[in-house]
Amino acid sequence: MSTTTASTSPSRPVRRLGEARPRYGERLIKALLLMCAAVSVATTAGIVIALAGPTIEFLGEVPLKDFLFGTDWRPLFSPADFGVLPLVTATIVVTACALAVCIPFGLGSAIYLSEYARPGVRKTLKPVLEVLAGIPTVVYGFFALTFLTPTLERIWLFGDPPSVFNALSAGLVMGVMILPTVASLSEDAMAAVPQTLRQGAYALGASKRIVATKIVVPAALSGIVASFVLAISRAVGETMIVLIAAGGTPNLSVNPAEAMQTMTAFIAAAGLGDQSTGSIGYQTIFAVGALLFIATFAMNVISIRLVRKYREVYE
């Protein structure tokens, strides 16, 4: 540890005062820690490589146009059809149902917690709300299938009641699951709005509602939109709820009361089937997975950028 001996001992190289002894151990540790951090980059690279190979092979057999715009998804039939549109529309329908729950109620919860609730109330209610995000997704799937769907059947007012498997109850339950994410991120954005903006509005005679809707929400808008985008990404990528409650039949329909198979549910169901490596059935897992990854990746990047934007403005 001592560095003073360097100048007195003749056997050691002469070192100028203030120049540190090279510490190889320290450098080794730094390199090891950098490798730990690099594992995350390797993970992303691994995902891209894992998806790219079989997807390219798949696209060698099925033209990209037929894959993206075909309206029939029958990968295991002969002759097989590989049009991914039914899976995509199902994903959109389920996501829309989820957003119908998590956007209004998540934003409402955030405004209440940020602007209305007393500190004590917020301290108790926020963790309770976040329990929703910690419940395993199989549990939500079970809840949607065995409790929500029968309830919807009982109270259905128009047309045919929803089938045993349907996109609606999967989507609604998913919305409740994502609600704390929207509430928590939006509340963070609202908390970053400077108090002086609120005080200025109150000084002009604004009511609490006006301050919340015309001052705080617009000022926090990029953070709020980021939470919505992240919610879409979560809904698109959610698997177990739709696998359990939305059904396993590809169905090109926009009626949420029908059973339909989303992209994620297809991937999981195909994985259950234990396909042999290199078969076209195996490749479809990766092709649909690549589509899913690209969609969620794009949304994550948008969301991260939006969050940075509001941080830069107020911090």
Partner: protein, 291 residues
């Protein structure tokens, strides 16, 4: 914004303000009431079936006799191994990013951006990664405990890194400067001062990350964790099933008795999660220091 807009007539505003407040309260209540409904309905369905058979019996085609023993042991094996892999990696990465990384370097910014993005990648995509690299191709481990644990490790790694970074950031700079001024090297400062002070925060974050791993089913479905397993794992290369997958298996059977059994197993899973979260909250409250 005009003055009339910001301060409308008080009578109308009082009504609107009340309605708005009520609507906000309803939004919050919807989340909390759904949580109550979910827990109560599963409790009512599963409670009569929740006996020691659920914990000590193996899966069976007879719902009266079936239990989740192999799934519970599988969960302990897989999540325990996940902890061994992901906590050292995650803490190491967090130490690098907080203590060593120079944010002006592009690769450090890339690592940060990448971690933020990975935290939002759908879990099933990690399943595809595990299928391609751990189960089949590159490592070729087969459908084993080790393949599952490696996949889950990568899945929860971003959560461990993000929470460990927060814990390290909460240690004030004066501690570091004091140690360095006394002649400690950078690593000695980190190892003897920063890390001990950050342990409660890192432990809390790691427990929460592992409770995510316990509930995760989608990636393991792809790895082949659904096979009918009537034995406990004996090593890293054992076939396995875990609680969420066993629950999924029982949900997808047509017989009502299996659904009741699934509800009972969900209660076991929820108790496990509540215990872990309680431990995390306890650690945070007991050991976290205000500087």
């Amino acid at each position: 914004m005009s003055a009339t807009q910001i301060a409308p007539s008080s009578q109308r505003e009082r009504v609107l303000g009340g309605l708005f407040r009520a609507a906000l309260f309803v939004s919050l209540a919807i989340g909390i009431l759904t949580l109550c409904w979910l827990i109560l309905s599963i409790l009512i369905e599963g409670w009569p079936r929740l006996n020691q058979d659920v914990i000590f019996h193996f899966p069976s085609s007879n719902p009266e006799l079936a239990g989740a023993q192999s799934a519970i042991m599988g969960t302990i094996w897989v999540v325990g191994l996940t902890a061994l892999v992901t906590i050292p990696l995650g803490v190491g990465a967090a130490v690098y990013l907080e203590e060593y990384a120079d944010r002006d370097r592009w690769w450090n910014r890339l690592i940060e951006l990448n971690i933020q993005n990975l935290a939002a990648v759908p879990s099933i995509v990690y399943g595809i990664l595990g299928l391609a690299f751990f189960v089949r191709g590159f490592l070729g481990l087969g459908q084993t405990v080790l393949a599952a644990a490696l996949t889950l490790s990568l899945l929860v790694l971003p959560i461990v890194i993000i929470s460990s970074r927060e814990a390290i950031r909460a240690v004030p700079d004066s501690i570091r400067q004091g140690a360095l001024a006394l002649g400690a090297t950078q690593w000695q400062t980190i190892w003897r001062q920063v890390l001990p002070a950050a342990i409660p925060g890192m432990a809390t974050g790691s427990i929460l990350a592992l409770s995510r791993a316990i509930g995760e089913a989608a990636p393991l479905v792809l790895l082949g964790g659904l096979t009918f397993i009537t034995f406990n794992p004996e090593g890293l290369d054992s076939a396995f099933t875990v609680l969420p997958i066993q629950i999924f298996n029982w949900i997808s059977r047509p017989q009502e008795e299996f659904h009741v059994l699934a509800a009972a197993a969900i209660l076991v899973l929820l108790v496990l999660l509540v215990a872990m979260n309680a431990a995390a909250i306890f650690l945070r409250n007991k050991y976290q220091r205000k500087w």
